[in-house]
């Protein structure tokens, strides 16, 4: 049993110190996912949500997949849920402080270029989700289709759309 596996079992039995070790092992990836899916402003909070939820759900982790895979799935679901919430809140409360039109962020100077992370943040909803899941997190289209409840073809075309939009920003 590796140290990490042991920690998973200990944590599932309520050992918070073991869970803290798991947290330190896995937080970079979860936080990276959060930054790219929801943006840096909310990444910290969402990362915390992921680990709190993982702690609560640990006793449903049956060990049939790697803990990192399981945690990552928890994280993806939290992010997707949050993005939906946000979009729904925007719609429900019709926030007046939001810009009416999404302004495409273009690089002020091509010498420096736009940071990839920043460019990802400007992608529209589904394109951003698909791009992060496929090109960064390595999910396959059928898995993404399943996660996002979209057709496989939609996942593919959103990926292409995302890449083209990024290209506009990064190579202009």
């Amino acid at each position: 049993m590796t140290g990490s596996t042991k920690d998973v079992w200990l944590a599932a039995d309520g050992d918070a110190r073991a869970f803290e070790r798991l947290y330190h092992d896995h937080v970079p990836r979860v936080h990276g996912l959060a930054r790219r899916m929801v943006g840096p402003e909310e990444a910290d909070e969402l990362t915390q949500d992921v680990f709190v939820l993982a702690w609560k759900k640990l006793d449903t982790f049956r060990g049939d997949a790697a803990f990192s895979t399981w945690l990552h799935r928890v994280a993806v679901n939290v992010m997707l849920g949050y993005r939906k919430t946000k979009s729904r809140e925007r719609e429900r409360y019709a926030a007046t402080d939001e810009p009416v039109e999404r302004v495409q962020v273009r690089p002020a100077s091509t010498e420096i270029g736009v940071d990839m992370e920043t460019a990802i943040e400007t992608l529209p909803g589904k394109a951003r989700e698909v791009f992060v899941l496929h090109d960064i997190e390595g999910y396959k289209h059928d898995e993404i289709a399943d996660l996002l409840h979209i057709a496989v073809g939609t996942s593919k075309s959103q990926l292409h759309r995302a890449r083209m939009l990024l290209r506009e920003q990064l190579t202009a």
Partner: protein, 223 residues
């Protein structure tokens, strides 16, 4: 020159085109500098995406997480954890009298329905559990409790996203089923000879699972 196959370039990079499509794209690329440029750009993006590095957050998040760890369900974690791995559990939520009766009788119905008639996907995942470790009824009950707890957690997760009226409606409907279950349990306590009531109880509990499953599915796909 043929039409630019721009929309296929991502699929080309990802190796998702058929042989014919690939050939067609490659033939076009040989003579089209524009598309070569796009292809190179897209490849560059894919490479950059893969090479993005994860880094820990700049601020300490653990303290905030640790403070929230007591949000774990009210059930003692260790017991819950063990209960789900071992058959030596207690059966919560059921009236004691009913439990004793169910153990005698429900299992056959449940097995029959979940297996032979409804198919494995219609019932609780009873069959996945080794039958030598506990009686089917016990496991069915355990799966039931687990499923109910999971659903309630899920509903909580979705509650901030759902119209409060929808959440209230779902909860009211689950309560309707709970009331039906209570009514059957009371009838059983008063009249334990009515064997059909065991089936009714099983059906009502099964219905609650089904409703939770269907509601989850609708909410997940719609929101």
């Amino acid at each position: 020159m043929s039409e630019h196959p721009t929309e296929r370039l991502s699929a080309y990079i990802d190796g998702e085109l058929t042989a014919d499509e690939r050939t067609s794209v490659e033939q076009h690329l040989e003579t089209c500098a524009d598309c070569q440029g796009v292809l190179a750009d897209l490849r560059g993006i894919v490479v950059r995406a893969r090479s993005l590095e994860d880094r820990p957050p700049e601020s300490d998040l653990w303290t905030g997480i640790e403070a929230r760890l007591d949000e774990r369900p009210e059930v003692v974690p260790l017991e819950t954890h063990r209960a789900r791995r071992r058959p030596s559990f207690t059966m919560p939520q059921m009236a004691a009298a009913a439990v004793a009766l169910i153990v005698l009788s429900v299992s056959a119905t449940w097995w029959a329905r979940s297996g032979a008639e409804r198919g494995t996907d219609g019932g609780p995942p009873v069959a996945a559990v080794p039958p030598d470790t506990a009686t089917p009824t016990q496991l069915a009950s355990l799966d039931y409790d687990t499923a109910v707890a999971d659903f309630e957690e899920l509903l909580t997760m979705y509650s901030d996203r759902l119209d409060p009226q929808t959440v209230a409606t779902v909860e009211a409907n689950l309560m309707v089923i709970d009331e039906a279950i209570d009514e059957i349990v009371e009838a059983l306590e008063a009249d334990p000879e009515r064997s059909q009531l065991y089936d009714s109880l099983t059906s009502a509990r099964q219905r609650k699972l089904d409703v939770m499953r269907q509601t989850t599915s609708i909410i997940r796909t719609s929101i």
